[in-house]
């Protein structure tokens, strides 16, 4: 940019040849199986093309052959960083389809689980942004706390990563005292460590330099590209499914929607950071106002009878087998139901022809839709910024490829 450049330099630029660089599919810096075929000019990205489908498992085809409750494990494997949200979203879709009202207590319990999952999702994403900028410390701290969230899942349903949590019609059992103890402990202890994480990154000069103004997208472009979730909010649009179309009693809770201004990597990071605080707020409110009552609705066609009855009573055993076989027909209809997933609006579009399995099930996977904008976001930037941008978008391979 100074006297070093003469006319000859410009001529040389014109006849320049670009390098093609394969970033991925199994590159340690891309967290998941993503392939980007980059056209590089030195370290500047000129163009990028994404290859998808490395872990495509044809979930939509499989779902057409499965009873409704057997689709829950498939949803686990979409966004596996916040599997409980997917499970709950699917349960709520089926409940809406069969027209069941869920008791308040179950709804509050679901809210607690979903917000814990959101915290876990955002912790992974944000700490990985740190890792990609060279700050490994925060990551080790935060993963320890994701572990604690998984311990809570384990106490609720027995599983950790692919949780398969809850059932159509409610939850499998009431929260035990141990669960309440662990959640309360989490609410007290986590903010202390989280504040240390904040101190490490939020006002860190190096982190600032790496993230501010990189991978930016305007609100207009973000909407055109179908952005949802924290990525859209970072661009300044306060669209949140929990507020726009409240489900599972979200209208009872008071929380803010954090938004960003520029839609760059730093804004996306900060939106997630602030959402973690909001999630903690929601969990606290749900715990304080937990209604009394049952944790399941009266849907014997879908909700398993208590195990001790199955072993001692004939009717309960018959009912148990009927549920497990999944031979109950679902009313005809078509339904689109959306929940606010960890990285955006997760939608379930079901066409039911009145059978035991959906005639057609389509997952609206948020990151499949917004990953299209990746080329535009990294064009003209450095390779190392592209890596940080990718992790700040929170693209999850399982959800991308379904």
């Amino acid at each position: 940019m100074n006297s070093e450049f003469d006319d000859k330099t410009i001529e040389r630029v014109e006849e320049k040849q670009y390098t093609t660089l394969n970033l991925g599919p199994t590159h340690p810096a891309t967290h998941g199986i993503f392939q980007n075929i980059l056209t590089m000019d030195g370290e500047i990205i000129v163009d990028a093309e994404q290859t998808l489908g490395y872990i495509h498992r044809a979930f939509e085809k499989i779902a057409e052959h499965r009873a409704y409750y057997q689709i829950t494990p498939l949803t686990d494997r979409l966004n596996y960083c916040s599997a409980p949200i997917n499970n709950m979203g699917w349960h709520m879709t089926v409940e809406k389809l069969i027209g069941v009202e869920i008791p308040k207590r179950a709804q509050y319990m679901r809210v607690i689980i979903m917000e814990l999952a959101r915290i876990a999702d955002h912790l992974v994403c944000n700490s990985v942004i740190g890792v990609d900028c060279g700050a490994l410390t925060g990551f080790t701290y935060m993963f320890q706390w994701r572990e604690k969230i998984y311990d809570i899942y384990e106490h609720i349903c027995g599983a950790r990563l692919t949780s398969n949590i809850g059932r159509i019609g409610g939850l499998e059992r009431d929260f035990s005292n141990e669960v309440y103890k662990k959640i309360k402990e989490f609410l007290v202890e986590f903010p202390k460590i989280f504040n240390e994480f904040i101190a490490l990154l939020e006002r860190n000069r190096i982190f600032y330099d790496r993230t501010v103004d990189t991978g930016a997208i305007s609100a207009e472009r973000a909407l055109q590209y179908g952005f949802t979730g924290p990525n859209l909010r970072a661009a300044g649009v306060d669209y949140d499914v929990r507020v726009m179309n409240p489900y599972s009693s979200y209208e009872d809770f008071e929380f803010d929607i954090p938004i960003g201004v520029k839609g760059d990597t730093y804004d996306r990071f900060m939106v997630r950071q602030n959402e973690i605080w909001q999630s903690l707020r929601i969990i606290q409110q749900a715990l304080d106002n937990m209604p009394q009552g049952k944790w399941y609705a009266d849907v014997p066609d879908f909700y398993l009878p208590p195990k001790e009855d199955v072993y001692t009573k004939m009717e309960a055993m018959i009912s148990h087998f009927k549920v497990i076989y999944g031979e109950t027909n679902i009313p005809k209809g078509e339904l689109y139901n959306a929940v606010e997933g960890g990285n955006g609006e997760l939608g379930f579009y079901v066409i039911s022809d009145g059978g035991r399995a959906p005639f057609r099930l389509h997952f609206r996977r948020p990151c499949f839709i917004y990953y299209q904008a990746y080329t535009e976001m990294i064009k003209g930037g450095m390779l190392s910024d592209a890596i940080v941008t990718l992790s700040s978008l929170n693209v999850i391979a399982g959800e991308l490829d379904a």
Partner: protein, 169 residues
């Protein structure tokens, strides 16, 4: 806002504009669902997007479906659009005939449709006219069939290790 924008109002307004292009309309689970002629889908979606009152500027989802039992309407493309201003979701459906299903692409209206149309093509073989890069997205390029069509069973019928006799059936 002077007038309440609801499903009935949108439908009335749409009927005055595109009376001939609309085949049917319903409201399953409260979502306005309009079935339109395939050639009019682009125009109607662009009208929804540009209408000053409705402002359905956000494309939520595009997907396909296969109905082998509906002669002449074997394939369906389903668009979900969302008016963020009025918080109304609208579903637009277009049925296509079986032999060479094709419909105009809406990529230049909504850039978000790009990969979703590619996915629909990959799964069902529905051609989107005017799409910038209509290639397979999830499956390998060499694949010579469209796997989500109903005639393809979930598992390979030639497999011998899953015969019923091995399971005592």
């Amino acid at each position: 806002m002077t007038k309440e924008i609801n499903n009935t109002y949108i439908l009335e307004k749409l009927h005055t504009q595109f009376g001939n292009e609309i085949i049917s309309s319903e409201e399953p689970y409260g979502m306005l669902t309009i079935t339109v002629k395939p050639n009019a889908a682009y125009t109607i979606l662009s009208w929804f997007k540009n209408d000053k009152e409705i402002q359905a500027t956000f494309l939520t989802d595009v997907c396909g479906a296969h109905f082998p039992d509906l002669p002449g309407q074997e394939f369906c493309v389903i668009y979900h659009i969302h008016s963020l201003v009025n918080n109304i979701r609208i579903r637009v459906k277009a049925f296509l005939s079986g032999n060479s299903p094709s419909i105009p692409s809406i990529t230049n209206l909504f850039p978000a449709a790009n990969w979703q149309e590619r996915e629909t093509y990959d799964f069902y073989g529905i051609l989107f006219e005017g799409h910038p890069n209509l290639t397979r997205i999830m499956n390998v390029d060499e694949m010579d069939y469209f796997p989500l069509r109903k005639e393809y069973p979930l598992e390979d019928g030639t497999r011998t290790d899953k015969e019923d006799k091995y399971f005592g059936r």
